[in-house]
Amino acid sequence: MAKHKVTLVSGRTAQQGVGLEEGKTSDNYVKSVNHVQLCPEDAAKIKLKEGDTVSVETRHGSVVVNWRPSKELGSGMVFFPYGPWANQVYGYETEGTGMPLFKGIEATVAPAKGKVKSIDDLVKSLGGNKK
């Protein structure tokens, strides 16, 4: 399956806010941030079915996440809620401002074969989980 070029935008959601106040390890938080949203037309174009996982890739990295359809998005745009999964595909160049880019990033999406990593595994992949 060819990779589908998109513009990646991250942001807050109310569900993420509610979830993080339960705790970053709570199911509600994890579900609120371990997915991307894209329009139903783009999902059909790359033959995504309900329950499939999707691979999001930028020049900085890639990550496998769940997906949800969103009618708020036009074709070619993918929304990724802020969080540990989204951070796998963002770079850290700040161009002297202190701020990396979290919005308007070139990316590709494609159906994935792998599973979505747990929060424990993501912390392990950062190099340390002393929990």
Binding site: T7, V9, S10, G11, R12, T13, A14, G17, V18, G19, E21, E22, G23, K24, T25, S26, H60, G61, K71, E72, L73, G74, M77, F79, Y82, G83, P84, N87, Q88, Y90, G91, Y92, E93, T94, E95, G96, T97, G98, M99, P100, L101, F102, K103, G104, I119, D120, L122, V123, S125, L126, G127, G128, N129, K130, K131
Partner: protein, 425 residues
């Protein structure tokens, strides 16, 4: 059972101050007037708590954790003190003091939210107002790159949209709301007008609006995907407003252009003040990120990214900002308070945080506590500890202590003071 009224919410920069919290047997039982996120904060504040101080994941007495934290911060060459935005102002002042004592760098979460806003406002100034003025006067409200329907849930209800004010007695009917965004949101649907801007083109649209307000004719048929007729119409509407305000968000600061987008927004607002009263306010996320900037400024002269390695404060965003400090592998230890950088920083720099000894003060288990060497549980400001926080418009409000923290759990300020006592020897 005790009912606390006029409680201030410690979640987002709105600092809604009309909550009614019911406390029974030392636990929060109910809350009224709160948004969904605030409700979750108060009712779930006891869930997923850190159970005890730890070193390398092993439970230790508080004194031992404090000793280990002091040793790490005293013996490292380039300690980074980061976070500060979800706690009260005395704790923030202590964190700045600790950074000075350690000869390190102190930075707060604004470096990855409205840091570019600060950079721009330091260059070109700011026309400010309070949310009370907005409530009572604003007849034109523009949300640009901000989506309060997901991030500041009661902003439109309490201050900027539905609220009835002295000069806008009919509330929503007396206000015209414009939402500028790259995608449809709850805010664009609620607005009277949705201006869809192409990604990374906000600077162009702001400049085109500014030129149009100045009376120049645009030669391009459209700018950033917006037809010039629509730009002209919006410019006229802005000039005709009695009291206009731009509430801008991370759509401007986290996309290409960063601080230059804010520079352009300030330029537009300055131009509009030749015609009418127009203002702008950043939609601040963490409830006391405004306090982190304010306290750091009154302590050091600078709002974030402050280095004490020479014994006096120096300011240089891009160098002393946390992302850059970690990207260069420069920080050799970190004290994290009231934030979770392992969840909010790009993985490439979060990996560098995992390589150094990290001391974290938090209430709950987070990816940052999971990779920290020393973890010290602290009380939740605004629920278990009192203090002051600064609203997004710079108005300070008093946070209440409603319940006692668990035995042996202290406030951020108290724990920082314990660490500093040990550092001073």
């Amino acid at each position: 059972m005790t009912v606390f009224s006029d409680v201030v919410c410690p979640f987002c920069g709105c600092l809604c101050d009309d909550l009614e919290v019911t406390v029974e047997d030392g636990h929060v039982k109910d809350i009224k007037n709160a948004c969904g996120i605030s409700r979750s904060k108060f009712l779930n504040h006891e869930k997923n708590r850190l159970e005890a101080p730890t070193i390398d994941g092993v439970e230790v007495p508080l004194e031992k954790a404090v000793d280990a934290a002091a040793d790490i911060l005293s013996t490292s060459m380039r300690p980074l003190v980061y976070g500060l935005s979800s706690t009260e102002c005395v704790a923030i002042a202590k964190a700045v003091e600790l950074a000075e004592l350690a000869g390190g760098v102190v930075d707060n979460t604004s470096s990855v939210c409205h840091g570019p806003t600060i950079l721009a406002l330091q260059q070109v100034g700011e026309s400010k107002t309070t949310l009370g003025e907005v409530k009572n006067r604003a007849d034109l409200v523009i949300f640009w790159g901000s989506n309060p329907s997901q991030a500041h849930l009661r902003h439109i209800i309490r201050y900027s949209g539905m609220a009835k004010g002295r000069f806008v007695p009919n509330g929503r009917k007396d206000r015209y709301i414009v939402a500028v965004d790259i995608k449809e949101t709850g805010t664009t649907r609620l607005a009277d007008e949705y201006v869809k801007v192409e990604p990374n083109k906000d600077f162009e649209l702001l400049q085109a609006l500014r030129a149009t307000v100045r009376g120049q004719q645009l030669s391009a048929e459209s700018v950033a995907g917006v037809p010039r007729e629509k730009i002209a119409e919006l410019a006229e509407r802005m000039k005709a407003a009695k009291f206009g305000i731009v509430f801008f968000g991370l759509g401007l600061t986290q996309s290409e252009g960063r601080h230059m987008n804010i520079d352009a927004a300030v330029g537009l607002v300055a131009e509009l003040n030749n015609h009418t009263k127009f203002l702008l306010t950043p939609m601040r996320g963490h409830y006391n990120v405004g306090g982190a900037n304010t306290v750091t400024t009154w302590q050091t002269g600078y709002p974030y990214a402050v280095d004490f390695s020479r014994g006096y404060p120096r300011y240089n965003p891009g160098e002393y900002t946390s992302i850059d400090m970690l990207a260069r592998g420069e920080a050799d230890s970190a004290l994290i308070m009231a934030s979770d950088p392992a969840s909010t920083f790009p993985a490439g720099v979060a990996k560098n945080l995992a390589k150094i000894p990290v001391v974290t003060l938090d209430q709950k288990v987070t990816p940052t506590t999971m990779l920290s060497k020393v973890v010290i549980p602290v009380a939740t400001a605004g629920v278990e500890a009192e203090g002051t926080a600064y609203r997004m418009d710079g108005v300070p409000l008093r946070l209440r202590k409603l319940v006692e923290p668990s035995e042996g759990v202290h406030s951020d300020a108290e724990v920082l003071e314990m660490i500093m006592v040990r550092m001073r020897g």
